[in-house]
Assembly symmetry: C2
Homo-oligomer: 249 residues x 2
Protein backbone atom coordinates (compact mmCIF):
# COMPACT_ATOMS: atom_id res chain seq x y z
CA UNK A 1 0.00 0.00 0.00
CA UNK A 2 1.30 3.38 -0.94
CA UNK A 3 1.20 5.81 1.96
CA UNK A 4 -0.41 9.22 1.55
CA UNK A 5 2.13 12.06 1.24
CA UNK A 6 2.39 15.50 2.78
CA UNK A 7 4.24 18.79 2.70
CA UNK A 8 4.54 21.54 5.31
CA UNK A 9 4.57 25.19 4.24
CA UNK A 10 5.83 27.58 6.88
CA UNK A 11 4.81 31.16 6.23
CA UNK A 12 7.19 33.12 8.35
CA UNK A 13 9.52 36.07 7.99
CA UNK A 14 10.44 35.38 11.62
CA UNK A 15 11.98 32.01 10.69
CA UNK A 16 13.90 33.42 7.71
CA UNK A 17 15.28 36.30 9.78
CA UNK A 18 16.58 33.88 12.42
CA UNK A 19 14.42 35.55 15.08
CA UNK A 20 12.43 32.38 15.77
CA UNK A 21 13.48 28.75 15.96
CA UNK A 22 10.84 26.67 14.17
CA UNK A 23 9.55 23.73 16.18
CA UNK A 24 6.40 23.04 14.18
CA UNK A 25 8.04 20.85 11.54
CA UNK A 26 9.23 18.32 14.09
CA UNK A 27 5.87 18.16 15.86
CA UNK A 28 3.94 17.65 12.62
CA UNK A 29 6.56 15.23 11.25
CA UNK A 30 6.25 12.93 14.25
CA UNK A 31 2.45 12.94 14.19
CA UNK A 32 2.41 12.24 10.44
CA UNK A 33 4.77 9.27 10.89
CA UNK A 34 2.31 7.85 13.43
CA UNK A 35 -0.55 8.30 10.99
CA UNK A 36 1.41 6.66 8.17
CA UNK A 37 1.54 9.87 6.13
CA UNK A 38 4.90 10.36 4.42
CA UNK A 39 6.22 13.88 4.92
CA UNK A 40 8.12 14.57 1.69
CA UNK A 41 8.89 18.27 1.89
CA UNK A 42 8.96 21.28 4.18
CA UNK A 43 9.33 24.79 2.91
CA UNK A 44 9.68 28.21 4.53
CA UNK A 45 8.61 31.24 2.51
CA UNK A 46 8.38 34.93 3.45
CA UNK A 47 5.15 36.88 4.00
CA UNK A 48 4.87 37.84 0.32
CA UNK A 49 1.60 37.01 -1.48
CA UNK A 50 3.11 35.73 -4.74
CA UNK A 51 5.48 33.44 -2.82
CA UNK A 52 2.71 32.02 -0.64
CA UNK A 53 0.26 31.54 -3.50
CA UNK A 54 2.90 29.93 -5.72
CA UNK A 55 4.08 27.53 -3.02
CA UNK A 56 0.53 26.52 -2.01
CA UNK A 57 -0.40 25.71 -5.58
CA UNK A 58 2.80 23.81 -6.24
CA UNK A 59 2.58 21.75 -3.06
CA UNK A 60 -1.14 20.96 -3.14
CA UNK A 61 -0.73 19.57 -6.66
CA UNK A 62 2.23 17.41 -5.63
CA UNK A 63 1.16 15.88 -2.30
CA UNK A 64 -1.88 14.21 -0.74
CA UNK A 65 -2.10 16.94 1.87
CA UNK A 66 -0.46 20.24 2.75
CA UNK A 67 -0.15 21.82 6.19
CA UNK A 68 0.56 25.52 6.46
CA UNK A 69 1.65 27.27 9.64
CA UNK A 70 1.68 30.98 10.36
CA UNK A 71 0.08 34.19 9.18
CA UNK A 72 -3.54 33.72 10.29
CA UNK A 73 -3.68 36.27 13.11
CA UNK A 74 -5.35 39.70 13.10
CA UNK A 75 -2.42 41.97 12.13
CA UNK A 76 -1.40 43.47 8.77
CA UNK A 77 1.38 40.88 8.35
CA UNK A 78 -1.11 38.00 8.62
CA UNK A 79 -1.90 37.41 4.96
CA UNK A 80 -2.07 33.63 4.69
CA UNK A 81 -5.84 33.36 4.58
CA UNK A 82 -6.29 35.84 1.68
CA UNK A 83 -3.43 34.13 -0.15
CA UNK A 84 -5.03 30.69 0.19
CA UNK A 85 -8.26 32.12 -1.27
CA UNK A 86 -6.25 33.53 -4.18
CA UNK A 87 -4.43 30.21 -4.66
CA UNK A 88 -7.78 28.41 -4.93
CA UNK A 89 -9.33 31.18 -7.00
CA UNK A 90 -12.26 31.66 -4.61
CA UNK A 91 -13.57 34.75 -2.80
CA UNK A 92 -12.37 35.57 0.72
CA UNK A 93 -15.53 35.91 2.77
CA UNK A 94 -16.75 36.24 6.35
CA UNK A 95 -17.52 32.83 7.84
CA UNK A 96 -20.74 33.72 9.66
CA UNK A 97 -20.72 30.89 12.18
CA UNK A 98 -17.16 31.76 13.26
CA UNK A 99 -18.02 35.46 13.45
CA UNK A 100 -21.03 34.64 15.64
CA UNK A 101 -18.86 32.58 18.00
CA UNK A 102 -16.38 35.47 18.25
CA UNK A 103 -19.15 38.02 18.91
CA UNK A 104 -20.62 35.82 21.60
CA UNK A 105 -17.29 35.29 23.27
CA UNK A 106 -15.67 38.69 22.83
CA UNK A 107 -18.64 41.05 22.64
CA UNK A 108 -17.59 44.63 21.92
CA UNK A 109 -13.96 43.62 21.52
CA UNK A 110 -14.75 42.13 18.11
CA UNK A 111 -13.19 44.77 15.89
CA UNK A 112 -12.33 44.64 12.19
CA UNK A 113 -8.92 43.15 12.90
CA UNK A 114 -10.41 40.25 14.84
CA UNK A 115 -13.09 39.66 12.21
CA UNK A 116 -10.29 39.08 9.70
CA UNK A 117 -9.69 35.86 11.66
CA UNK A 118 -13.30 34.85 10.86
CA UNK A 119 -12.77 35.58 7.17
CA UNK A 120 -11.84 32.55 5.06
CA UNK A 121 -11.71 31.29 1.51
CA UNK A 122 -15.24 30.46 0.39
CA UNK A 123 -15.96 26.80 1.12
CA UNK A 124 -13.32 26.46 3.85
CA UNK A 125 -14.17 24.39 6.92
CA UNK A 126 -12.94 25.83 10.25
CA UNK A 127 -10.53 23.83 12.38
CA UNK A 128 -12.03 24.48 15.79
CA UNK A 129 -9.59 23.93 18.61
CA UNK A 130 -9.16 24.34 22.34
CA UNK A 131 -6.33 26.84 22.27
CA UNK A 132 -7.98 29.68 20.36
CA UNK A 133 -11.42 31.01 19.43
CA UNK A 134 -9.97 31.96 16.05
CA UNK A 135 -9.92 28.70 14.09
CA UNK A 136 -7.62 27.37 11.41
CA UNK A 137 -9.35 26.02 8.32
CA UNK A 138 -9.27 23.31 5.68
CA UNK A 139 -9.90 23.90 1.99
CA UNK A 140 -9.39 21.05 -0.45
CA UNK A 141 -6.27 19.21 0.68
CA UNK A 142 -4.77 22.26 2.41
CA UNK A 143 -4.89 22.62 6.19
CA UNK A 144 -4.19 26.15 7.39
CA UNK A 145 -2.94 26.47 10.96
CA UNK A 146 -1.49 29.07 13.33
CA UNK A 147 2.25 29.59 13.74
CA UNK A 148 2.31 29.78 17.55
CA UNK A 149 3.27 26.21 18.49
CA UNK A 150 0.70 25.60 21.22
CA UNK A 151 -2.15 26.82 18.99
CA UNK A 152 -0.82 24.92 15.97
CA UNK A 153 -0.62 21.73 18.01
CA UNK A 154 -4.17 22.13 19.23
CA UNK A 155 -5.35 22.66 15.65
CA UNK A 156 -3.41 19.66 14.39
CA UNK A 157 -4.87 17.38 17.04
CA UNK A 158 -8.38 18.65 16.22
CA UNK A 159 -7.71 17.87 12.57
CA UNK A 160 -6.11 14.49 12.96
CA UNK A 161 -9.23 12.36 12.66
CA UNK A 162 -9.99 13.91 9.26
CA UNK A 163 -6.61 12.98 7.79
CA UNK A 164 -5.92 10.00 5.54
CA UNK A 165 -4.05 7.06 7.05
CA UNK A 166 -1.30 4.84 5.77
CA UNK A 167 0.90 2.21 7.28
CA UNK A 168 2.51 3.59 10.41
CA UNK A 169 6.18 4.38 9.87
CA UNK A 170 8.24 2.86 12.67
CA UNK A 171 11.81 3.62 13.57
CA UNK A 172 14.44 1.64 15.49
CA UNK A 173 17.84 3.01 16.44
CA UNK A 174 21.09 1.73 17.87
CA UNK A 175 24.20 3.73 18.61
CA UNK A 176 27.86 3.29 19.50
CA UNK A 177 30.11 5.86 21.13
CA UNK A 178 33.56 5.80 19.59
CA UNK A 179 32.38 4.32 16.30
CA UNK A 180 33.26 6.41 13.25
CA UNK A 181 30.93 6.45 10.25
CA UNK A 182 33.80 5.90 7.84
CA UNK A 183 34.68 2.60 9.50
CA UNK A 184 31.24 1.05 9.17
CA UNK A 185 30.06 2.63 5.93
CA UNK A 186 30.74 -0.40 3.74
CA UNK A 187 29.00 -2.83 6.12
CA UNK A 188 26.06 -0.48 6.53
CA UNK A 189 25.65 -0.16 2.77
CA UNK A 190 25.40 -3.96 2.59
CA UNK A 191 22.66 -3.94 5.25
CA UNK A 192 20.75 -1.37 3.22
CA UNK A 193 21.14 -3.57 0.12
CA UNK A 194 19.80 -6.62 1.98
CA UNK A 195 16.74 -4.68 3.24
CA UNK A 196 15.55 -2.54 0.33
CA UNK A 197 12.16 -2.04 2.03
CA UNK A 198 13.89 -0.42 5.03
CA UNK A 199 15.27 3.09 5.04
CA UNK A 200 18.70 2.74 6.74
CA UNK A 201 20.32 5.96 7.93
CA UNK A 202 23.55 6.87 9.69
CA UNK A 203 23.85 9.96 11.89
CA UNK A 204 27.10 10.99 13.57
CA UNK A 205 27.02 12.82 16.88
CA UNK A 206 29.52 14.13 19.39
CA UNK A 207 29.19 13.59 23.14
CA UNK A 208 31.74 14.87 25.62
CA UNK A 209 34.30 15.31 22.85
CA UNK A 210 33.86 11.81 21.52
CA UNK A 211 32.29 11.04 18.16
CA UNK A 212 29.74 8.32 17.83
CA UNK A 213 27.16 7.21 15.32
CA UNK A 214 23.46 6.38 15.48
CA UNK A 215 22.13 3.86 12.97
CA UNK A 216 18.44 4.17 12.22
CA UNK A 217 16.13 1.71 10.45
CA UNK A 218 12.78 3.12 9.35
CA UNK A 219 9.79 1.70 7.53
CA UNK A 220 6.45 0.00 7.87
CA UNK A 221 7.70 -3.60 7.62
CA UNK A 222 8.40 -4.20 11.32
CA UNK A 223 10.15 -7.60 11.05
CA UNK A 224 12.44 -6.14 8.38
CA UNK A 225 13.34 -3.01 10.38
CA UNK A 226 14.04 -5.18 13.42
CA UNK A 227 16.24 -7.55 11.42
CA UNK A 228 18.12 -4.61 9.90
CA UNK A 229 18.58 -3.12 13.38
CA UNK A 230 19.94 -6.43 14.67
CA UNK A 231 22.52 -6.42 11.87
CA UNK A 232 23.40 -2.79 12.59
CA UNK A 233 23.88 -3.75 16.23
CA UNK A 234 26.34 -6.48 15.21
CA UNK A 235 28.14 -4.00 12.98
CA UNK A 236 28.76 -1.69 15.93
CA UNK A 237 29.81 -4.62 18.16
CA UNK A 238 32.29 -5.73 15.49
CA UNK A 239 34.06 -2.40 16.03
CA UNK A 240 34.77 -3.46 19.61
CA UNK A 241 32.16 -1.04 20.96
CA UNK A 242 29.14 -1.90 23.09
CA UNK A 243 26.03 -1.08 21.04
CA UNK A 244 23.21 0.75 22.83
CA UNK A 245 19.61 0.40 21.65
CA UNK A 246 17.74 3.65 21.06
CA UNK A 247 18.97 7.18 20.52
CA UNK A 248 21.71 8.94 22.49
CA UNK A 249 20.37 11.68 24.82
Amino acid sequence: MKNPTAAILIIGNEILSGRTQDVNVQFIAKRLADLGIKLEEARVVPDIPARIIGAVNELRAAYTCVFTTGGIGPTHDDITSECIAAAFGVPWVLHEETAAIMRERWGEDVNDARLRMATMPQGAVPIKNEASIAPGFTIGNVHVMAGVPRIMQSMFLALEQELPRGERIEMRAVYGIGVLEGSIAAGLGEIQDRFPQVDVGSYPFKREDKWGVTLVAKGSDIPAIEAATAEATDLIAAQGVAPVQGEPD
Copy 2:
Protein backbone atom coordinates in the same frame (compact mmCIF):
# COMPACT_ATOMS: atom_id res chain seq x y z
CA MET B 1 20.99 49.02 -2.88
CA LYS B 2 19.48 45.64 -3.44
CA ASN B 3 20.75 43.03 -1.02
CA PRO B 4 22.00 39.66 -2.29
CA THR B 5 19.52 36.83 -1.70
CA ALA B 6 19.86 33.28 -0.43
CA ALA B 7 18.10 29.98 0.04
CA ILE B 8 18.87 27.06 2.34
CA LEU B 9 18.35 23.49 1.15
CA ILE B 10 18.27 20.90 3.90
CA ILE B 11 18.86 17.39 2.65
CA GLY B 12 17.57 15.26 5.43
CA ASN B 13 15.27 12.30 5.89
CA GLU B 14 15.96 12.74 9.60
CA ILE B 15 14.23 16.13 9.64
CA LEU B 16 11.21 14.90 7.65
CA SER B 17 10.79 11.86 9.91
CA GLY B 18 10.75 14.08 13.00
CA ARG B 19 13.80 12.28 14.39
CA THR B 20 15.95 15.42 14.40
CA GLN B 21 15.13 19.03 15.25
CA ASP B 22 16.80 21.24 12.66
CA VAL B 23 18.85 24.07 14.14
CA ASN B 24 20.89 24.93 11.06
CA VAL B 25 18.33 27.27 9.50
CA GLN B 26 18.36 29.60 12.48
CA PHE B 27 22.15 29.70 12.68
CA ILE B 28 22.55 30.45 8.98
CA ALA B 29 19.64 32.92 8.99
CA LYS B 30 21.22 35.01 11.75
CA ARG B 31 24.64 35.06 10.10
CA LEU B 32 23.11 36.02 6.73
CA ALA B 33 21.20 38.91 8.32
CA ASP B 34 24.52 40.18 9.69
CA LEU B 35 26.09 39.95 6.24
CA GLY B 36 23.16 41.75 4.64
CA ILE B 37 22.13 38.69 2.62
CA LYS B 38 18.36 38.27 2.46
CA LEU B 39 17.30 34.70 3.21
CA GLU B 40 14.22 34.20 1.04
CA GLU B 41 13.56 30.49 1.29
CA ALA B 42 14.40 27.33 3.19
CA ARG B 43 13.47 23.91 1.97
CA VAL B 44 13.77 20.39 3.35
CA VAL B 45 13.87 17.50 0.86
CA PRO B 46 14.41 13.77 1.37
CA ASP B 47 17.55 11.82 0.39
CA ILE B 48 16.25 11.12 -3.13
CA PRO B 49 18.47 12.12 -6.09
CA ALA B 50 15.74 13.59 -8.30
CA ARG B 51 14.45 15.70 -5.42
CA ILE B 52 17.89 17.02 -4.50
CA ILE B 53 18.92 17.74 -8.10
CA GLY B 54 15.62 19.44 -8.89
CA ALA B 55 15.72 21.64 -5.80
CA VAL B 56 19.38 22.63 -6.29
CA ASN B 57 18.74 23.70 -9.86
CA GLU B 58 15.59 25.58 -8.99
CA LEU B 59 17.15 27.43 -6.07
CA ARG B 60 20.50 28.28 -7.66
CA ALA B 61 18.67 29.89 -10.58
CA ALA B 62 16.45 31.93 -8.26
CA TYR B 63 18.85 33.26 -5.58
CA THR B 64 22.29 34.86 -5.32
CA CYS B 65 23.55 31.96 -3.25
CA VAL B 66 22.37 28.59 -1.98
CA PHE B 67 23.49 26.79 1.16
CA THR B 68 22.91 23.06 1.46
CA THR B 69 23.24 21.08 4.67
CA GLY B 70 23.45 17.32 5.08
CA GLY B 71 24.37 14.22 3.14
CA ILE B 72 28.12 14.67 2.64
CA GLY B 73 29.40 11.94 4.97
CA PRO B 74 30.86 8.54 4.02
CA THR B 75 27.75 6.31 4.23
CA HIS B 76 25.39 5.02 1.50
CA ASP B 77 22.74 7.59 2.47
CA ASP B 78 25.15 10.49 1.87
CA ILE B 79 24.34 11.34 -1.72
CA THR B 80 24.44 15.12 -1.79
CA SER B 81 27.83 15.44 -3.47
CA GLU B 82 26.97 13.19 -6.45
CA CYS B 83 23.64 14.96 -6.80
CA ILE B 84 25.29 18.39 -6.92
CA ALA B 85 27.59 17.12 -9.69
CA ALA B 86 24.52 15.87 -11.58
CA ALA B 87 22.73 19.20 -11.02
CA PHE B 88 25.67 21.07 -12.55
CA GLY B 89 26.17 18.45 -15.28
CA VAL B 90 29.82 17.87 -14.37
CA PRO B 91 31.72 14.66 -13.49
CA TRP B 92 32.08 13.60 -9.86
CA VAL B 93 35.82 13.17 -9.34
CA LEU B 94 38.42 12.63 -6.62
CA HIS B 95 39.77 15.93 -5.37
CA GLU B 96 43.46 14.97 -5.16
CA GLU B 97 44.53 17.63 -2.66
CA THR B 98 41.76 16.62 -0.25
CA ALA B 99 42.56 12.93 -0.69
CA ALA B 100 46.23 13.66 0.07
CA ILE B 101 45.28 15.51 3.27
CA MET B 102 43.11 12.58 4.35
CA ARG B 103 45.86 10.04 3.60
CA GLU B 104 48.34 12.06 5.58
CA ARG B 105 46.02 12.43 8.53
CA TRP B 106 44.31 9.06 8.58
CA GLY B 107 46.92 6.73 7.02
CA GLU B 108 45.61 3.21 6.53
CA ASP B 109 42.16 4.17 7.78
CA VAL B 110 41.46 5.90 4.46
CA ASN B 111 39.07 3.40 2.91
CA ASP B 112 36.74 3.78 -0.07
CA ALA B 113 33.96 5.17 2.12
CA ARG B 114 36.19 7.95 3.45
CA LEU B 115 37.51 8.76 -0.01
CA ARG B 116 33.91 9.46 -1.08
CA MET B 117 34.26 12.53 1.16
CA ALA B 118 37.20 13.66 -1.01
CA THR B 119 35.16 13.15 -4.18
CA MET B 120 33.48 16.30 -5.49
CA PRO B 121 31.88 17.81 -8.56
CA GLN B 122 34.64 18.76 -11.00
CA GLY B 123 35.64 22.37 -10.39
CA ALA B 124 34.39 22.49 -6.80
CA VAL B 125 36.49 24.36 -4.23
CA PRO B 126 36.76 22.70 -0.81
CA ILE B 127 35.50 24.51 2.29
CA LYS B 128 38.28 23.66 4.71
CA ASN B 129 37.25 23.98 8.32
CA GLU B 130 38.43 23.32 11.83
CA ALA B 131 35.80 20.78 12.79
CA SER B 132 36.45 18.09 10.20
CA ILE B 133 39.15 16.87 7.79
CA ALA B 134 36.40 16.13 5.29
CA PRO B 135 35.57 19.52 3.78
CA GLY B 136 32.39 21.01 2.39
CA PHE B 137 32.69 22.58 -1.05
CA THR B 138 31.53 25.45 -3.21
CA ILE B 139 30.56 25.12 -6.86
CA GLY B 140 29.12 28.11 -8.68
CA ASN B 141 26.79 29.85 -6.22
CA VAL B 142 26.09 26.67 -4.24
CA HIS B 143 27.80 26.06 -0.89
CA VAL B 144 27.60 22.45 0.27
CA MET B 145 27.96 21.86 4.00
CA ALA B 146 27.61 19.09 6.58
CA GLY B 147 24.37 18.47 8.48
CA VAL B 148 25.92 18.04 11.94
CA PRO B 149 25.49 21.51 13.43
CA ARG B 150 28.98 21.99 14.85
CA ILE B 151 30.63 20.96 11.57
CA MET B 152 28.18 23.03 9.52
CA GLN B 153 28.90 26.08 11.67
CA SER B 154 32.64 25.65 11.27
CA MET B 155 32.20 25.38 7.50
CA PHE B 156 29.94 28.43 7.37
CA LEU B 157 32.41 30.55 9.32
CA ALA B 158 35.24 29.40 7.02
CA LEU B 159 33.10 30.41 4.05
CA GLU B 160 31.87 33.73 5.30
CA GLN B 161 34.59 35.93 3.86
CA GLU B 162 33.83 34.61 0.36
CA LEU B 163 30.16 35.59 0.51
CA PRO B 164 28.65 38.70 -1.07
CA ARG B 165 27.62 41.50 1.29
CA GLY B 166 24.62 43.76 1.44
CA GLU B 167 23.30 46.26 3.90
CA ARG B 168 23.13 44.67 7.32
CA ILE B 169 19.56 43.88 8.30
CA GLU B 170 18.87 45.17 11.80
CA MET B 171 16.03 44.30 14.07
CA ARG B 172 14.45 46.11 17.04
CA ALA B 173 11.76 44.62 19.23
CA VAL B 174 9.42 45.75 21.98
CA TYR B 175 6.89 43.65 23.82
CA GLY B 176 3.97 43.97 26.17
CA ILE B 177 2.58 41.27 28.42
CA GLY B 178 -1.21 41.37 28.50
CA VAL B 179 -1.51 43.08 25.12
CA LEU B 180 -3.61 41.20 22.58
CA GLU B 181 -2.76 41.39 18.89
CA GLY B 182 -6.37 42.04 17.95
CA SER B 183 -6.42 45.21 20.05
CA ILE B 184 -3.41 46.84 18.42
CA ALA B 185 -3.73 45.49 14.88
CA ALA B 186 -5.25 48.66 13.40
CA GLY B 187 -2.62 50.93 14.98
CA LEU B 188 0.18 48.62 13.96
CA GLY B 189 -1.02 48.56 10.37
CA GLU B 190 -0.83 52.36 10.38
CA ILE B 191 2.77 52.23 11.61
CA GLN B 192 3.62 49.82 8.79
CA ASP B 193 1.99 52.22 6.31
CA ARG B 194 4.03 55.16 7.63
CA PHE B 195 7.31 53.20 7.35
CA PRO B 196 7.15 51.28 4.08
CA GLN B 197 10.93 50.73 4.15
CA VAL B 198 10.58 48.87 7.48
CA ASP B 199 9.28 45.35 7.83
CA VAL B 200 6.90 45.52 10.83
CA GLY B 201 5.88 42.20 12.38
CA SER B 202 3.68 41.13 15.27
CA TYR B 203 4.29 37.89 17.17
CA PRO B 204 2.03 36.71 19.98
CA PHE B 205 3.47 34.65 22.83
CA LYS B 206 2.22 33.13 26.04
CA ARG B 207 4.13 33.42 29.33
CA GLU B 208 2.85 31.92 32.55
CA ASP B 209 -0.65 31.66 31.13
CA LYS B 210 -0.75 35.25 29.96
CA TRP B 211 -0.74 36.28 26.32
CA GLY B 212 1.49 39.06 25.13
CA VAL B 213 2.77 40.36 21.85
CA THR B 214 6.21 41.24 20.50
CA LEU B 215 6.39 43.93 17.84
CA VAL B 216 9.42 43.73 15.59
CA ALA B 217 10.80 46.34 13.18
CA LYS B 218 13.36 45.07 10.68
CA GLY B 219 15.33 46.64 7.89
CA SER B 220 18.54 48.37 6.91
CA ASP B 221 17.33 51.97 7.46
CA ILE B 222 18.27 52.31 11.14
CA PRO B 223 16.60 55.69 11.87
CA ALA B 224 13.39 54.35 10.30
CA ILE B 225 13.38 51.09 12.27
CA GLU B 226 14.05 53.05 15.46
CA ALA B 227 11.24 55.51 14.73
CA ALA B 228 8.86 52.64 13.94
CA THR B 229 9.88 50.91 17.18
CA ALA B 230 9.23 54.12 19.15
CA GLU B 231 5.72 54.25 17.70
CA ALA B 232 5.19 50.55 18.47
CA THR B 233 6.28 51.28 22.04
CA ASP B 234 3.66 54.03 22.32
CA LEU B 235 1.05 51.66 20.89
CA ILE B 236 1.71 49.16 23.68
CA ALA B 237 1.73 51.91 26.32
CA ALA B 238 -1.64 53.15 25.04
CA GLN B 239 -3.06 49.75 26.04
CA GLY B 240 -2.19 50.56 29.66
CA VAL B 241 0.72 48.12 29.63
CA ALA B 242 4.39 48.90 30.34
CA PRO B 243 6.33 48.28 27.10
CA VAL B 244 9.63 46.36 27.42
CA GLN B 245 12.39 46.86 24.86
CA GLY B 246 13.80 43.67 23.32
CA GLU B 247 12.40 40.17 23.11
CA PRO B 248 10.72 38.24 25.94
CA ASP B 249 12.89 35.38 27.30
